[in-house]
């Protein structure tokens, strides 16, 4: 018998307040004299900031509220993630942006690329240029040159020297964290999944805002111990046998978990979050046997993002995940105005159908709640379809 948990794991209470708390602790860090480097994307090599003695903090915004401010400058029919990020930046409403000494941008999609030009007018920035692809020798060489340029820029800005030893230490720290997150996500391979996808998201998302990495890791260990107990007792966040869904697509963080919530409210279990707000950044570790800067560059360039062309890695990864997590379906989320993920949705749909005969539900939406009812209908129809109605 499966017991569906009415209560979430007790250890979640730490993660529930982690982000609001972080808004205060960043001020503390600054008072202690810590330098902060904000970054937007999973391509940003956080090891560089850490090796320079700075705290890396994620700035990618997933709140509806600053969008109106963002729209004062940016086109309305733009990706909400960019409008939200920019709205936070110009209004000083985001403490993390406000307290970033240096902001690292990455020329991923065109919208972000141009937004960084505007941002550079009022914030110290370094923008890394991404190659259009990640596979050719020329692309790799180009990216490695960008890695060196970024290292130089950070060194100059913070007036430090980034040593290989410092990089190696940072790699060790972040790799340990990546492995920890992989272990945590692995818990959702169980049926019933001992925690919800919404809670997994919350943990992964709070990671971006926790400045005491060791304390954070301890809490994750605590959570995993509790999940072990739940598995032993047969307690799940959804019923045993519930449809198992992998969520992929654009970054959907805390504040924009609408679709994930609807999937779980409809009785399914979200067992993996492939996107950037989820596991994308934690899936690959840095090779610890190679020269550090080169190894870091390789890891980040391997990010399976739709901004890369072609981006077959994401498709192949999803097929692997379907098998590993025994998924029944895939929900692919695209923000309105995100051309790369929107077009890739078509490639993904065809590939998954071909490889695993599995239909993919593609949802195009934004940060508002206006379409929740319609999304609910789509998700329910998709689940009915997987269940054979």
């Amino acid at each position: 018998m499966t017991v569906i948990a009415e209560e979430r794991p007790y250890a979640m209470s730490f993660f529930d307040v982690a982000i609001p708390k972080a808004a205060g602790s960043i001020v503390e860090e600054k008072k202690k004299g810590k330098k902060v480097m904000g970054h937007y994307c999973v391509f940003a090599p956080q090891e560089l900031a850490m090796a320079a003695g700075a705290v890396p903090v994620a700035l990618c915004a997933t709140k509806e509220e600053p969008i109106a401010d963002g729209e004062k400058v940016l086109p309305r029919n733009f990706c909400p993630l960019i409008k939200s990020s920019y709205g936070f930046a110009i209004t000083d409403k985001c403490p993390f942006f406000l307290h970033s000494d240096l902001v690292m941008g990455e020329t991923t999609c065109d919208g972000k690329k141009k937004m960084f030009e505007l941002m550079g007018q009022f914030k110290p920035m370094h923008v890394m240029s991404l190659p259009a692809g990640s596979k050719s020798e020329a692309d790799r060489a180009y990216w490695m040159a960008e890695m060196k340029r970024a290292k130089g820029a950070i060194e100059e800005f913070f007036q430090v020297t980034i040593t290989d030893e410092a990089l190696t230490t940072a790699i060790g720290e972040l790799n340990a964290e990546r492995r920890l997150m992989q272990r945590l996500a692995g818990y959702l391979k169980h049926d019933p999944a001992p925690m919800s996808g919404q809670d997994l998201l919350k943990v992964l998302w709070s990671r971006n805002f926790s400045f005491d990495r060791a304390a954070f890791a301890e809490r994750v260990e605590e959570l995993m111990a509790e999940l072990d107990e739940r598995i032993a007792q047969g307690v799940g966040a959804a019923a045993k046998g519930a449809k198992r869904i992998i969520v992929t697509g654009v970054p959907t963080g805390v504040g924009t978990e609408k679709v994930i919530r609807i999937i779980e409210e409809s009785g399914a279990a979200v067992v993996f979050l492939e996107n950037c707000a989820g596991m994308k950044q934690f899936l690959v570790t840095v090779d610890e046997t190679k020269p550090p800067l080169e190894a870091i560059g390789e890891k980040y360039l391997a990010t399976p993002c739709s901004c890369m062309s072609p981006n077959r890695d994401r498709l192949e990864l999803l097929v692997r995940l379907i098998d590993e997590y025994k998924a029944d379906g895939i929900v692919d989320i695209t923000w309105q105005g995100c051309h790369t993920y929107n077009v890739e949705a078509r490639l993904l749909r065809d590939y998954i159908r071909e490889q695993r005969e599995m239909p993919v539900l593609h949802i195009e939406t934004d940060y508002s709640e206006g379409d929740s009812q319609q999304i609910r209908t789509r998700v329910q129809a998709y689940l009915e379809m997987l269940g054979g109605v």
Partner: protein, 287 residues
């Protein structure tokens, strides 16, 4: 199957003298759409369809309709073994035994109305959907419009208003030999957004463009939008057009042109969702 209220006038009184054999198990399917509530009662031998405009509360309308339909059959709520609800308003129907999405219901209803159908195009008040169905009416895949109204019944209703006519009048204008639309070429409507398309229509009227050409253009615009959407499903078999807009022969003709294949309409097409719901209710009642 008897159809009550399939006529152009949407309001419909349940017909008297339709007593079901006493003791037979009744099941009901309700499609609470944004424009109309449709109800199907089925006692195993006979099936009747009722419908009424949704009004301000589709839930309230559905409850009344069910009461009146049962009264017309001389039966009570207790005689109904299972009520399956679908449509936009299904979440506000507390008396349902089960709720199933309109996608599954239209698929089921469509295959019942047109065995062998492979693609169902359902255009309702708020939504346009393409559903790929298997032989038993199982949904294999589907696509649906985003929150924009282009390509839906709502789009046509707004345009009919701009043209100073009823939607039904507009829908009755079918291209064809000897018909009022003979020799009329669609005037392209370029705006995708309903609000802009409305201004475009008003502008065209002011320029003196033939209303019939505008109407044909509007039908073409809906058809193009829907055809582009369903193309993703890659269907190749028979196509059945369902939902309220299936009454609009102009859209049906435009769809045939855009898809390059016949698009069938059954006289029960507008009720496919409720029919699907009653079929599912019958299965659930049987356990």
């Amino acid at each position: 199957m008897e159809s009550k209220g399939a006529a152009a006038t949407p309001a419909c009184a349940p017909a008297p003298n339709q007593k079901a054999p006493d003791g037979a198990t009744i099941v009901a399917g309700i499609d609470a759409g944004s424009t109309a509530v449709k109800l199907v009662l089925d006692d195993g031998n006979r099936r009747s369809v009722w419908q009424r405009p949704s009004g301000w509360s589709p839930g309230e309308t559905a409850r009344e309709l069910l009461q009146e339909a049962l009264a017309a059959w001389g039966r009570k709520r207790e005689d109904v073994a299972h009520i399956c609800g679908t449509g936009y308003g299904r979440v506000n129907l507390p008396f349902l035994d089960s709720a199933v999405t309109e996608i599954a219901c239209h698929a089921r209803g469509a295959v019942h109305l047109r065995p062998g159908a492979q693609l169902v195009i359902d255009i309702g008040g708020q939504d346009a959907k393409g559903i790929l169905v298997g032989a038993t009416g199982r949904v294999l895949d589907f696509v649906m419009n985003d929150k924009c109204a282009a390509g839906t019944g709502r789009f046509l209703a707004v345009m009919a208003h701009a043209l100073g006519m009823e939607v039904a009048e507009m829908g009755a204008l079918v291209p064809g030999e000897g018909l009022p639309m003979a020799g009329i070429h669609p005037h392209p409507i370029n705006a995708m957004c309903t609000v802009f398309a409305e201004s475009e229509v008003i502008g065209l009227l002011n320029q003196g463009v033939d209303r019939r050409a505008i109407i044909a253009g509007l039908h073409q615009s809906v058809a193009r939008r829907v055809a582009a959407m369903v193309a993703r499903l890659g269907a190749s078999g028979p196509v059945l057009f369902t939902g309220g807009v299936a009454r609009n022969a102009g859209v049906g003709a435009a769809l045939e042109k855009e898809l390059g294949c016949p698009v069938e309409v059954n006289e029960q097409s507008p009720f496919a969702g409720a029919i699907g719901a009653v079929l599912i209710a019958r299965e659930k009642a049987a356990g």
